[in-house]
């Protein structure tokens, strides 16, 4: 029993020491950099800025957005993956984070980063894509569209934001499930893809609600189907693909916050808690409201589950498309 006081003393000192160490380097003690791997003004940037502003209020340290665009996001994502895992570098990225390593694999390229190099912090938003066709096109429903596509395989064309881009993957996922073959015309971004549809150069497009709603209201486009798990309030009459019997067809354009893997657990916890508070912030809510992007907050564990499932679906879609020669 003589040893007990010593053990107690050691345990108590250790117990004291830990809070001391934390107190010495209380996170965050200096500004945090939030990498956005896309140019200013894009979806990721529009989401990241209100997130950064709300985080700043919670963490009481500046959160500086840094746009590190290039190679479809690979440059900024690789920069985050390889950053010092101290919590001072975080990132707001989109669903394409799971696609880039898959595409690299497809082409036997040295991957720019591995998904395992990134630790999820929180999911911020998740918007379904919507299938739209010109208002003067013959198809009124998904069934009519599919029937026509089956009658003339490879004839109906659609535009996308780019090869293996989100809009391409969404459409191919649906085409695969419906057993139809469509003609793909990739463009450089969601804007040009929409321009091509409006100009009548292609016949269909999958794109986000924020982009398609104004064109539908102006009577230029018609929405046929929704890739989301449920109908959205702005278009209550547009059925989801799951309702229509395509059980596996679900596609969301999501935005989430990540840190480099290996960031210490207490720091991750601080960031996770801060995100939990940030999404409750009134200014943040109003900013997301203006973007017409519903907040779909998930904390790290649930986000991780969501991300894994999503990444699997993306990997499958990329494999289904295969190399395009």
């Amino acid at each position: 029993m003589k040893g007990l006081p010593i053990i107690l003393a050691v345990v108590m000192t250790a117990g004291l020491a830990v809070p001391c160490a934390v107190a010495q380097e209380k996170f965050p003690s200096r500004p945090i950099t939030m990498i956005v791997p896309f140019p200013p003004g894009g979806v990721a940037d529009q989401t990241a800025r209100p997130v950064a502003a709300a985080l700043e209020k919670v963490l009481k340290q500046p959160v500086v957005v840094s746009n590190r665009q290039g190679a479809g996001g690979a440059v900024g994502m690789a920069a985050t993956a390889n950053a010092k895992p101290d919590g001072y570098t975080i990132m707001t990225a989109l669903s394409s984070i799971s696609v880039i390593p898959e595409a690299d694999k497809l082409f036997d390229r040295q991957p720019a980063y591995q998904m395992s190099q990134l630790a999820p912090i929180a999911l911020v938003s998740a918007d379904p894509t919507i299938l739209v066709v010109p208002a003067d096109s013959p198809w009124k429903t998904v069934a009519e569209f599919v029937a026509d596509a089956k009658a003339r395989p490879g004839q109906i064309s659609y535009s996308s934001s780019g090869l293996y881009g989100t809009l391409h993957l969404a459409m191919e996922m649906f085409a695969h499930a419906a057993g139809i073959k469509l003609k793909h015309v990739p463009f450089n971004g969601a804007g040009p893809a929409m321009t091509a549809l409006l100009g009548g150069h292609v016949q269909a497009l999958a794109s986000g609600p924020g982009v398609v709603i104004p064109q539908i209201q102006a009577g230029k486009l018609r929405a046929l189907g929704n890739w989301g798990p449920k109908r959205i309030s702005a278009m209550p009459d547009v059925p989801t693909f799951q309702e229509l019997g395509y059980k596996e067809v679900e596609f969301l354009i999501w935005a989430g916050v990540f840190a480099p893997a290996g960031t210490p657990e207490p720091i991750l916890k601080t960031l996770r808690d801060a995100m939990g508070q940030a999404v409750q912030d009134a200014e943040f809510k109003s900013a997301m409201d203006k973007l017409q992007t519903p907040i779909a907050y998930l904390d790290a564990p649930e986000f991780k589950k969501f991300w894994d499932a999503d990444a699997q679906a993306m990997a499958k879609a990329v494999k289904n498309i295969g190399r395009v020669d």
Partner: protein
Amino acid sequence: MADTLANLALGFSVALSPEVLLFAVIGCLVGTLVGMLPGVGPLAGISLLLPATFGLSPTTAIVLLAGIYYGAMYGGSTTSILMRIPGEAASVMTCVDGYAMTQQGRAGPALAIAAFGSFIGGTLSIIALMLLAPPLASLALKFGPPEYFALLTLGLIVLAFLSGGSMAKSLAMAALGLFSGTIGIDLMSGYMRFQYGIVALGDGIGIVPVAVGLFGVSEILLAAGRAVPPKPQRPKLAELVPTRDDLRRSVGPIGRSTVLGFLIGIVPGSAHIISSFVSYALERRLSKTPERFGKGAVEGVAGPETANNAAACGAFVPMLALGVPSGPIPAVMLAALMVHGIAPGPLLMEQQPSLFWGFVASMYVGNLVLLALNLPMVGLFVNLLRVPYAYLYPAILMFSVLGVYAAGQNVIDVWIMIAMGGLGYVLRKLDFEVAPIVLGLVLAPMIETALRQSLAMSSGDYAIFLTRPIAAGLLGVALVLLVINLLPSRNWRAQLGIEN
């Protein structure tokens, strides 16, 4: 018409309200600076300042961003003319004759003509935008990949008219530019080309680092190699004003380039960059004295500078009338509107009349502000040339590195600029012209993508270019130009440079 006037009155009541006016002026000032800083073009400038507009009202925000855009188009000419540094891609052609004028001690007239041309091109284009936006926008939408390909092919033919020297040398430079344009990810297959594992090269070689290197850095290297260092200039006041002859020569180019630039500007995509090249080639072709081009012809400044401002304005047509981005810059401006909860779309004009008309009116105001800002500054800018080259050139080099890095935040851009500076030095020593490299680099990715998109649309059938009237028409014009140029004329050997 009465409606338009009433709407315009509403617009001016918005544009002349103190807050909007203040931000229009700030936008023009910032834009001028952004345009002057080598490397930092309007896109980088707008992108960097976008977050600063989130706290403003939507109208103020878009007026500020538009001011930066056309302010940069004005400002880009200043460094091109004075120092042969293209502030942005659209002022590459201004370097050629603008800097030649500076070397002849005529920097003042060159700057003044550039300002006049920009003002007239900008203002007339706003009138066209105001009166014709909806019909023009539906015309612009007819430009799908096949039409775009045809337009760019026309741009490629223009290469042949760009320089006065040997055509064989021009074509070799164009080929080099076109080849460099294939570096990076292949949009249609996802393969990386000529990238050698460098992730940052995935997006290809930037136009701005190449232009700044080939034109600016090479000029500094050439100057350093001279036995007798160039003397700083001492401009006199009387020499700052364009002569009657300058004005007479500029009228035609300004008028033609306004129409040309505006029409190219409304086409969705990045075609506006070629407007200044096409304008230069057109003026050289129409001129009775084409041999003066490249040696300080005022038409070679008036045309491209007018065209790029008219194109900047034309780019707003699809954006305002349809809510679709006609290029990277309008895309950022649309994003600014979305942040403010305004969903850009075809109904923008009806749902947000004060925003739309306030924006239009602010562009009139902005062009006036820029003219008022730039003309008096001509004297100031020209006096920069008094700085001894031993101080001026290192400073220019520093700002070039800074600007090129700031624009893309990528060190590789700086290396590209330096390498291109070395290449430009060698090429110019060997009497090659470097402008075709830049045009080739601009055209290659666009023309390739448009061609392959067209073929994807037609499942590989080339007839798509002949069955669509606009595409067929443009290709016809290109063919005629090509034939005219290649017909064995009396001096075809001289044209190809064989007998030189």
